[in-house]
């Protein structure tokens, strides 16, 4: 046996340049779970990471956390969180909808700004999180917006998971009671909850979803915005570099090589923060 030349510090498992703090915020009696990642040295600004919807978040979490740590190592205070009713946050998912989750984005933004007062705040969303971050920006929260893989609407995301449910049911035994697509939609539109891959969707979530669209670009207040399309043909929302060709891998990458992609987006964020500070300085001078 010979030792590989690659010597990750697996046993230590720590990234000494990044300090992470997890906690709960109180949101209407529920515990909203968050994790802040902070590097050593001065903070250039803050980024609030608004993750994807439901189980999509699980599949993207490994790289999402790596991205947060990459930001932290480069002078950005990064915060990611679980929406109410999901993951480590408490709350009843059946009572949740997009409006509640936008409120979660706003609460986390306020908390983040207290940790880094006077610095620019960029909202960053992935998938459905991009629409939630965009809605919060339209309501006056944050100084800039970065969107990865924004859908055309929240309804598009829900329809994709509805297809997932239907496909899953078709692979079960023939005696299983299967609903058609229209029956599923009728359940929601007639005011009933629908179980979709372990989550009970409320009729409110369904109804709101058609109204949640990406924000208008450019922003009417001139705040920096960027939208990055990503390829999810691997089926697991693996991050791929949009400049280079897509690699199709059997089951999707667990820990894909995203260094160049992260760096490109980090540079955009830092430039955006410079623009924001310059804009604030102009306003203060005026």
């Amino acid at each position: 046996m010979i030792k590989s030349k690659k010597t990750w510090d697996w046993a230590a498992g720590k990234s000494p340049a990044v300090e992470e703090v997890a906690g709960y915020l109180d949101q209407d009696g529920s515990q909203l779970y968050y994790v802040q990642s902070r590097g050593k040295g001065n903070i250039r600004g803050a980024v609030l990471l608004c993750g994807h919807f439901g189980r999509d978040y699980d599949y993207t979490l490994v790289n999402w956390n790596r991205w947060a740590r990459h930001l932290a190592r480069n002078g950005v205070l990064a915060m990611r969180f679980d929406y109410r009713g999901v993951g480590e946050s408490t709350g009843d998912f059946r009572r949740m909808g997009l409006t509640q989750w936008v409120a979660d984005v706003e609460l986390c933004s306020k908390h983040l700004l207290k940790q880094a007062p006077g610095t620019p705040l960029v909202l960053h969303g992935l998938g459905l999180g991009a629409l939630l971050a965009g809605r919060a920006l339209e309501r006056g929260v944050g100084d800039g917006l970065l969107m990865w893989a924004p859908p055309t609407s929240a309804r598009e995301v829900l329809m994709a998971w509805l297809r997932h449910r239907l496909a899953g049911e078709f692979s079960l035994s023939r005696s299983a009671k299967r609903m058609t697509r229209q029956q599923c939609i009728d359940e929601l539109e007639q005011g009933r909850h629908l179980d979709v891959e372990g989550y009970s969707w409320s009729p409110e979530l369904w109804r709101e979803s058609v109204e949640f669209l990406p924000p208008k670009v450019p922003d009417r207040r001139g705040r920096p915005m960027r939208s990055v399309e990503m390829d999810d043909r691997s089926g697991t929302m693996a991050f791929v570099n949009p400049v280079m060709a897509v690699r199709h891998v059997p089951m999707g990458d667990l820990s894909p090589r995203s260094g160049a992609f992260f760096q490109e987006n980090l540079e955009w964020i830092l430039r955006a923060m410079d623009e924001i500070e310059a804009s604030h300085a102009r306003i203060d001078a005026a």
Binding site: K6, W10, N65, L172, K177, M251, D253, L254, R257
Partner: protein
């Protein structure tokens, strides 16, 4: 009620959640460790682990969920491909972390043993842990246990693990091919020709899929190491609950319970649900079954004991 905590295990600070039991009566009670399901974070798919732990705590069983290194919120490096991580889990790689967790929890609390369980990879790790810690593990629950051995991804490896000479050479060759290909794909003249060549190759030789989920669970695809560990756990008569979806029921039964079902093993097939137990109301049915099984097989010792008998619990209260 959920509380966040961190425990240092083998030099790594693992991030976790403690679900405090609802009763404050000083009884001796076992704790439950709900393990990561493969490479999924500690909440589990559709938050199955989180809700299961909540339910167990409501019924008086303290429960813990920790992210193992690289998963969820715990820092750590992971291999590039899922299959490589799955092979790591299938060979018992997560078990030493779980044993370390048990030691850390024993130092901090005074629990009467541990019930360990999880889904798929979590079930695999529970079996290995039960074999390694017979004095500590008082029960295991296995959700959708997998008896197959995932195919290897050439050139990928678990970080920090030593490799054989052959593995290193294959790794260098794969890395060189991959780098050359990435370079070629970025060249406007070469990329189309490369794409055509790849399409031609795929026509005659389909790409290797990571797992042939329809292959029978015997022969080369069977996880022999896990089967040995399972036999050892059966010989210890550890109370075991097994819940599985219909799809691989035959494979699981043939491999794990070929003859009559021993009395300490309860097997339940959940109809109309998938591997992650997320469809067909699988989540709520699983939570109900596991909670009921715990109350029937892992009783809380109702003997009330004096505070002085629980020095570690007193320290915890002071902390």
């Amino acid at each position: 009620m959920r509380e966040l905590m961190q425990l240092e295990v083998l030099g790594v600070r693992l991030c976790g959640t403690r679900h405090r039991e609802s009763s404050s009566a000083p009884v001796r009670r076992p704790a439950t460790l709900v393990l990561n399901f493969g490479d999924i974070r500690r909440a589990g798919p559709a938050d199955l682990s989180a809700h299961l732990a909540d339910e167990l705590a409501d019924r008086g069983y303290p429960a813990f969920r920790f992210d193992l290194p690289g998963l969820g919120d715990t820092p750590g490096e992971l291999p590039e491909y899922q299959e490589t991580y799955w092979r790591f889990v299938e060979s018992g790689g997560q078990s030493r972390w779980v044993c370390g967790l048990i030691d850390a929890l024993k130092r901090r609390f005074a629990y009467e043993g541990f019930v360990v369980g999880g889904l798929c990879g979590g079930a695999t790790t529970a079996i290995y842990t039960a074999e390694a810690r017979p004095a500590d593990v008082v029960g295991i629950f296995l959700l959708e246990p997998s008896v197959r051995r995932t195919a290897e991804v050439p050139g990928d490896q678990m970080p920090g693990q030593p490799r054989s000479t052959r593995e290193v050479l294959v790794g260098y060759a794969s890395e060189t091919v991959a780098r050359t290909r990435r370079w070629a794909e970025s060249r406007p003249v070469i990329a189309p020709a490369l794409g055509a060549a790849v399409a031609l190759k795929r026509r005659f030789k389909p790409p290797v899929s990571g797992v042939d989920s329809e292959a029978p669970a015997h022969g080369a695809a069977l996880n022999e190491k896990l089967m040995k560990s399972w036999s050892a756990v059966r010989a210890m008569h550890v109370p075991t609950l097994m819940i599985h979806a219909p799809r691989f029921a035959r494979q699981i039964c043939d491999a794990m319970v070929p003859n009559t079902c021993p009395p300490e093993l309860e097997m339940i097939e959940l109809e109309h649900t998938n591997h992650l137990l997320t469809s067909g109301n699988g989540k709520s049915r699983t939570i109900e079954i596991v909670s009921r099984w715990m109350q029937e097989n892992i009783p809380l010792n109702r003997e009330t004991i004096m505070d002085s008998d629980i020095p570690m619990a007193a320290n915890e209260r002071a902390a």
